[in-house]
């Protein structure tokens, strides 16, 4: 439980660095697997060498991604029997209605806009991590 993987799907290296910094800052020590685009994320989740879904604590999913965008990743994830129960938290710059509605419709578990202020950003990351790794009871494997 303690070592469940956090799958971070984020193409922007700055954001990747800031998110990892926030994890570090809040001493969340779970392994973080990074996918730099949607295709890579799908490969990691449903590819031949995919992680066991039960091993994944949650997916932190950006929406605007090269190759396959975040919402498409979510759709395929939910469409797949094996991966459809994996908790997904959308963490993105946008809070456009379109994204919010589509995200929830496709079955995201949570939607968080990235705050500009790093303190708030770091706080948001902390809360998400704690919640999905500790407070939330994951689906049975």
């Amino acid at each position: 439980m303690e070592n469940r993987i956090i799958l971070l799907v984020e193409d922007n290296p700055d954001d990747r660095e800031l998110i990892l910094r926030a994890f570090r800052k809040h001493t969340i020590g779970n392994p973080v697997v990074v996918a730099k685009d949607g295709a890579e994320a799908l490969d990691l989740l449903m590819g031949p060498k995919a992680y066991d879904p039960a091993a994944i604590g949650f997916v932190l999913l950006d929406l605007k991604l090269p190759k396959v965008d975040g919402l498409e990743v979510l759709r395929r994830l939910r469409a797949n029997e094996r991966t459809k129960l994996i908790p997904v938290v959308i963490l993105t710059s946008s809070k456009e209605d379109k994204d919010l509605i589509e995200g929830y419709r496709l079955g995201t578990n949570s939607y968080v806009q990235k705050p500009i202020d790093f303190n708030q950003f770091s706080e948001a990351v902390r809360q998400v991590g704690l919640y999905w790794l500790i407070v939330n009871v994951p689906p049975p494997s």
């Binding site: 700055d14 800031l18 929406l63 710059s93 990235k114 500009i116 202020d117 790093f118």
Partner: protein, 880 residues
Amino acid sequence: MRRGQVSWRCEGRSLPASARVLCRALLLIGVLLFPAPRPAHAESLRVGIYQNPPKVFVDGHGSPRGIFVDVLDAIARREGWTIEYVHGTWPEHIGRLQRHEIDLLVDVSYTKERAEQFSLSHVPVLESWCDIFSRRGTRVESLRDLDGKRIAVLEGSVQEHYLRDEVRANFGIDFTLLLFPDYPGSVEAVKSGEADLLVATRFFSFSPDRPEGIVPAHVIFRPDNVYFAFPRGTGADLIAAIDRHLASMKNDQDSPYYRSLRRWLATQPEPMLPARVKAALAAGTVLLAVIGLFAFVLRRQVKAKTRELTRSYERLQATYAALRDSENKYRTLFEGSADGIFLMTDRFTDCNAQACRLWKCRREEIVGHSPAEFSPPLQPDGRPSDAAARERIERALAGEPQCFYWQHRAKDGALMDCEVSLNAVEISGRTFLLATVRDVSARKRAERKLTEANRALTARSMCSRALVCAMEEGALLEEVCRIVVDDCGYRMAWVGFAEPAPEKAVRPVAWAGAGGNALGTLRIRWGDDEHSRGPTAAAIRTGAPSIARDISVDPRFARPGEEAGGRVRVSVIGLPLLEGGVAFGALSIIAAAPDSFRAEEVQLLSELASDLAYGVIALRTRAARRRAQEELEEYRDRLEEMVRERTAQLAESNRRLEIANRELEAFSYSASHDLRAPLRSMDGFSQALLEDYGDALDEQARDYLGRIRASSRNMAELIDDLLSLSRVSRSEMRVEEVDLSAAAESILTTLARREPGRSVRWAVAPGATARCDPRLIRIVLDNLIGNAWKFTSKVPEARIEFGTAREGGRAAFFVRDNGAGFDMEYAGKLFNPFQRLHAAGDFPGTGIGLAIVQRIIHRHGGTVRAEGKVNGGAMFLFTL
């Protein structure tokens, strides 16, 4: 011919003196044997007599004698009257009659003047005429021979008046009249050479006052009847009694009347007794012995002569009777004729009873007058009656019998259509015209009525056909006018349309017949001026047919400077062309004869006009419908074209809009994601530097990092606002009834809760609702109330009010505060995006709020405006 004049004259001359003496003796005996009985209830009549034998006179013994005396005595006997004869001269009697000094005057000819002055009996006593008497050998053949002569006449007699007043004037001759109170005076004047001629009635031939040497010229003129005259106001009983007896006696050949006529008119004038007696006595004394000797021979001769004379007298009596029978026969034919019969030259000399009935006047009022006096000034064909009559008379006198139609006018003014024939006849060596006049008015009227009804009927039926075939208004009107004139025989027809006020002109649009081209110059109008008096104008004004039966005498046609008599005699009818009871024009028809357009013809022509009006309206409606349809089709074609163009334009602009929207969407989306990421990096890594290397940095470096972070956040806020603005434009509208009061209350409550330190008093008008998008209106109120909250933050007693008002007739809502306010000079800029009127340090905000408010209000079709004053508060008022 006057009755028996020739035979009486012959008789009077040839009867011997002995027979006369015999008759007188017999009469004397009769009078002595049968004296007049005294009337039972005596009515005394004073009768004026004068010396005019044999009609009336006083004989040598002072006894009244003559025809009138015989007649009056006979009547008095029958009625039981007493008669007192008053002797005098004619002028004296006229005076007495006027003063009622006598009850009756004998031997009075009819004149208008006398008929007015006195009462005249109605049954004529004698038929009389005037004659000219002169010394034997004086040549007198006609009235013209009176020229330059000295003429003796009875003073106050009809002869005097006639010669003085009429002959002089009518014959263009001049003469001197010598007036005498009695005939002996006149005779003396002629004998002595003081006078050339004597004019008296025909009875003077039989008068003993006439010496042998003074003879009648047989120039017959002024025939008349002789009556009894009574003072004005005499009882009708007396006159009626005299008339009754006279009429009865005139019907009986053996009555005292005829006996008297035979007696006085068959005898020679009584010899001047005293002279003759003296001569006889002298001769007797001288020849006494001779008479004794030849007494026997003489007696035998006398006997033989007497027998011869008696036979001659009997023969003459038989001739007289035959003549009388013949005369009676012709008189019956003459008087009994159903035609008026006249004997005339250029004037009437005689006429029958039917003529009097025809022209409703007495014979005396006809005789001596000309035919033109019994005609209207103009004949129906327009010729002056006197000229036309003269021409006919001259041609008839020249031996060419005339038969023609003529319009006569009776004494009472009634016009009658007559058939007249004129034939020349010879009477007593003189040429007369025998004229027969037959009143054919009734036949003419019937013929005319039929003709008029026929032409109107033809007009109506032919016009009906024209109406059915009509395609175009102008052609229809022309055709109707043409039919009325060419096919139906009217003189002219035209149609005029009524122009509206103020001109009220009648514009001729179609015509046919004589004078149509002059219509335009008449400038007919239908108002109230002198151009609006004719039937056409009247028909338009009143909406009913108007008729002028003779425009030559109709004052409505009199125009300034034009003599009525100079116009042709025609009838005109104006028939209104009606639409909904109002005339839009008139059909006017002119008939060539006066007095046309009687009831039946008017009825038919009115129906024609009604048909025509209906036809015109129908054609106009049809034309208007066709025009409207054409316009509609054209309009429809254009509309279709327009719709196609507009649709294409719309499709194009829609396509562009879609592209723009997609681009905007893409831009917003991209901005939302990509523009914020760098800001996050700037803030995040600045923070990382402070956290990780804070100790290595001096105060200034940390301050710079702080500024980078602040700018990043500021930039992020601007981006968020921009995106909100764009979202307001792009989001879909969802309109429903929204409780604005509740929304405002909720917003204020939230604000108060968020900033509990603020002390703000607010007032929200209850029940303010509007149909709008609830989410968008919430943004409006958030902004406006949020602003009010924000800009009152430096006021000790902040007040915020939400209420309703009217703006340009529409419901309006306002948010008012007593905060910082603004300078009205910049009011127009308030709603521009990112426009701020306050330093960011004083009041936070990017200046996007009012831009969003305006965009939302505009999307609702409303308006928004602001009022304010620096440090005096602000008010924002909007409609939806």
